[in-house]
Subunit: 307 residues, 2 copies
């Protein structure tokens, strides 16, 4: 996690911009050009998303340390969409951004290794070793236990990559299973958190955080604070800020005294800032950058700076 | 689930062939030809997987009612691999097979809808409505609760598609979270199963099973039997047969008196049958078909036929 923390400290910004591109968020001039080249097709949609993302990345790279593309919005345009995901990751990394692939992948053994090679490592083809999506971190679902996470740990170590494992998600129904308590009072999300600490035991970096982070929603500030106390070596990815209802005060409990320990994600509020503020289409990326600055400033003011 | 059940009855075969193609499973003649065309590249690997799958599907289509491609093995070859996934799905459907996309996807709200459009529905681009991967069923992880499943239900209803939600997975560490019991004794996997029954309440078909199935591993026969009793309207996808250790006796508790209620998956034992039996490379698909017949016969003998 040290690379991410270094980037957060350098930019004095503990936030990540979610790249969840719906076509309805994309200015017409981009869609028109993409459709005129490739038609109203999956390729046309994928091209529009790529051009939208490229503009966003150019504008956001000086401000945020990281971006988080959400796989679902790329998969919906088929392999053409997945090509845009790969291009987006390569371009963001070229611009110095740390890329969290939000795939919430989960499986076991050699299958989970294949997901690891896809998103965090390299894949062997004959005598070649090649990158596929090759992000800097991947989100992972803990339901299958150690068999679903252990296969990724050597890949993370080899490539200086990280994981974020779901603990307490930001959605209204997250409690249906996650909040249920076992005898003694430990909840499922806390049990998942305990596993996360254990999975990270051997990969703690210079700030005390391991390569195995956790996802904890901004919409549940009490649980954020509780998990911050219980999981001292676990870095948090905090979704649910902005459009989902979490504010700067809500995410403050995710941070330690140094202002470290978490990175807060916003997607919709950044991507649709041009629509909300009435900016011209041409200024969509500038509006996104302004919104990202507001978010940064609000959170940094709340946590009192980053050491 | 009626389409799947009809296919199972027609072929008198309650098994599904997992298409989890590792390069090491693929005969050299296929790899050589693919690499000679496209190099030792992601495209070369994706081409080899596609040719391997095509041969398998041709040989398996008269025997099995369904195939289950595992996304991880396609994603590891980048968008080129995802193109092979799409081709594999189209080709299998053309051959009359029901396709379960094993992606174990999970997210919330509009993001989960995007996964649904990707794998089960169609996506709108301008004035067009287009298929992306467009399988017949998708595996889903329940950790996020109703917000992670409800967005898929209208898509399933509209397109006559189905889901399989993880309940008790086949791996050794599945118990770390899934077997933990809440006060009163209900385990997490049983709680997930209870949600599955509820999610399926409005979509029961003519055999009494809903569109929302559950994944329950062949390696835990006691839990299979327990869940069969508790979830009378839930169709099971049962992984873990063959290479993972489950046998025909182990999966029998997943079926009801009619011989319905479950479809059992095997991947490795079918895909590597040519290597295990010492068949020639050219006969890899024939060996897979023979193994699929053995599996069918063993299970049908154990459950005493399908009504």
């Amino acid at each position: 996690m040290d690379r991410l923390i270094a980037a957060i400290r350098e930019k004095q910004n503990p936030t990540v911009a979610g790249l969840d591109p719906k076509l309805s968020y994309i200015p017409d001039f981009i869609k028109k050009e993409a459709f005129s080249k490739y038609g109203e097709s999956l390729e046309g949609a994928a091209e529009a998303v790529w051009q939208f993302n490229r503009g966003l990345i150019d504008a956001l790279a000086p401000i945020v340390p990281a971006v988080k593309p959400q796989c679902a919005y790329y998969e919906q345009y088929g392999w053409q969409g997945m090509r845009t995901l790969e291009r987006t990751i390569r371009y963001a990394q070229k611009k110095g951004l740390y890329v969290i692939i939000d795939g919430k992948r989960n499986d076991i053994g050699t299958t989970m290794e294949a997901y690891g090679r896809a998103h965090l490592g390299k894949v062997e083809v004959g005598g070649q070793t090649l990158p596929a999506f090759d992000g800097d971190a991947l989100t992972v679902n803990p339901y299958l236990g150690t068999d679903g996470v252990a296969p990724l740990l050597p890949l993370c170590e080899a490539g200086d990559k990280d994981l974020f494992v779901l603990a307490k998600t930001s959605n209204p129904s997250s409690g249906e299973l996650q909040d249920r308590a076992f005898p003694g009072g430990q909840t499922l999300y806390a049990a998942a958190g305990e596993l996360v600490e254990r999975w990270g035991e051997e990969s703690r970096g210079k700030w005390g955080f391991s390569r195995v982070g956790a996802v904890v929603g901004a919409t549940y500030p009490a649980q954020l604070g509780e998990l911050r106390m219980e999981l001292p070596h676990t870095f948090f990815l905090v979704p649910g800020y902005g459009a989902q209802g979490g504010g700067a005060k809500d995410v403050a409990p995710a941070f330690d005294k140094r202002g470290l320990g978490a990175i807060v994600n916003a997607s919709r509020s950044i991507l649709t800032a041009w629509q909300k503020t009435g900016a011209s289409e041409a200024d969509y990326a500038k509006a996104a950058a302004e919104e990202a600055k507001h978010m940064r400033d609000a959170i940094v003011a709340e946590i009192g700076g980053i050491e």
